[in-house]
């Protein structure tokens, strides 16, 4: 399976590593080539420097043969536009989009991609940790 990961920050680089380790054919796109260092020297996938909203860049990244597209940059706008270009210009079926602002999920819910709000996930994780901490302090007091 050919996978395109847009954005090579913490999230993008870790997902790309995990996918290549699972045997997937991965191309990572980031406008900043130094970001690819996060992938490590032994990364078995491909890298392309350029912006993930550009049709030509995505074509070079193998968008025509791509069955999974993941937009992970630090900008909601970049991720949302990249995802729409992936759907519109290349008809990529599975498109995953990282967003920071939870409210955007409702606005783009009908566009046919999966929106994952990392802020909401982090808030849930923190809230659970806070609840556990409270329970612990109640037990000891």
């Amino acid at each position: 399976m050919h996978v395109i990961v847009v954005g090579c920050g913490m999230l993008g680089s870790m997902l790309a590593r995990r996918l290549t380790d699972a045997g997937e054919d991965v191309t990572v796109v980031d406008y900043n080539p130094t970001a690819f260092r996060r992938l490590g020297d032994d990364f078995r996938g491909h890298t392309i420097s350029g912006t993930g909203i550009d049709t030509e860049v995505l074509a070079r990244a193998g968008a025509r043969e791509c069955s999974l597209f993941i937009a992970t940059t630090g900008s909601d706008a970049t991720n949302l536009m990249a995802a729409q270009v992936a759907k519109l210009q290349f008809g990529i079926e599975n498109v995953l989009v990282r967003i920071y602002e939870p409210a955007k999920a409702g606005v783009f819910a009908a566009d046919g991609f999966s929106l994952i709000c990392t802020t909401s996930l982090a808030v849930e994780a923190f809230a659970e940790a806070i609840a556990r901490a409270k329970e612990d302090s109640q037990c000891t007091s």
């Binding site: 900008s75 909601d76 970049t78 536009m81 729409q84 270009v85 519109l88 602002e101 409210a103 606005v107």
Partner: protein, 224 residues
């Protein structure tokens, strides 16, 4: 009319001051604090808002729900696209206009539902190319994303159109004369209007037909 302008760079600032001068209610959203301070000094407190216009929360506080129009003029196409989509889909702003920095994104914006786009790169390119192609026909404005042009042509004494009535001119299809400047007067031409030497003719013409219009008003092209 209440207009929200997202992006307080040069384009955003000049657009906002023009709208203010025309008595419209305007709010410029700018996320950079230093640039916001500069705008506040020029436009006043009430016309500026510090925040990230690509967040729903910011647009909500800016009153997007009651805006008559929203214009996204940031330097980033992806930001402008998403802002316009949020304005359209969530806040139901009746008129949404986006600046497109990279002309090749214009088509994609259209397909994604943002049809009112302005690409300064494309407009300048069109003007330059047109200026080179037909030096005698000066473009005044490009309309409808560059497909129609308002042009002006000065009639020289040697013009075959001098002394001819408008109705007898063999104008190309998709071309109308919209104004004739004669000295200090501006006439709205009709069929009986006769053209004179030194008239300045304003015409609305489909892009690509300028040279046909030039032939009618200047005579066949002479290689200089």
């Amino acid at each position: 009319m209440y207009v929200i302008v997202v992006g307080g760079g040069k384009v955003g600032y000049h657009l906002a001051s023009t709208l203010v001068a025309e008595q419209h209610e305007v709010l410029v959203i700018e996320r950079d604090a230093a640039r916001y301070e500069g705008l506040r000094r020029l436009l006043g407190d009430d016309a500026c808002f510090l925040g990230d216009g690509s967040e729903l929360h910011t647009l909500e506080m800016a009153g997007a729900a009651r805006a008559d129009a929203l214009v996204a003029v940031s330097g980033k196409d992806e930001t402008n696209l998403v802002i316009c989509q949020i304005a359209q889909r969530y806040f139901h702003v009746p008129r949404v206009v986006s600046r497109v920095n990279n002309p090749k994104n214009e088509e994609i914006f259209g397909k994604l539902g943002i049809t009112a786009t302005i690409s300064s790169t494309r407009i300048i390119y069109s003007l330059v190319v047109q200026e080179v192609e037909t030096a005698e026909v000066t473009p005044v404005a490009l309309l409808k994303r560059g497909n129609l042009a308002l042009v002006e042509i000065a009639l020289e004494g040697s013009s075959p159109a001098v002394g001819v009535r408008v109705r007898d001119l063999d104008l190309p299809d998709e071309c109308v004369l919209v104004g004739i400047v004669q000295g200090d007067d501006v006439l709205v031409p009709h069929g009986n209007t006769t053209l004179h030497k030194n008239d300045l003719v304003l015409a609305l013409v489909r892009r690509g037909k300028e040279s046909l219009l030039e032939q009618v008003l200047h005579g066949p092209a002479q290689n200089a």
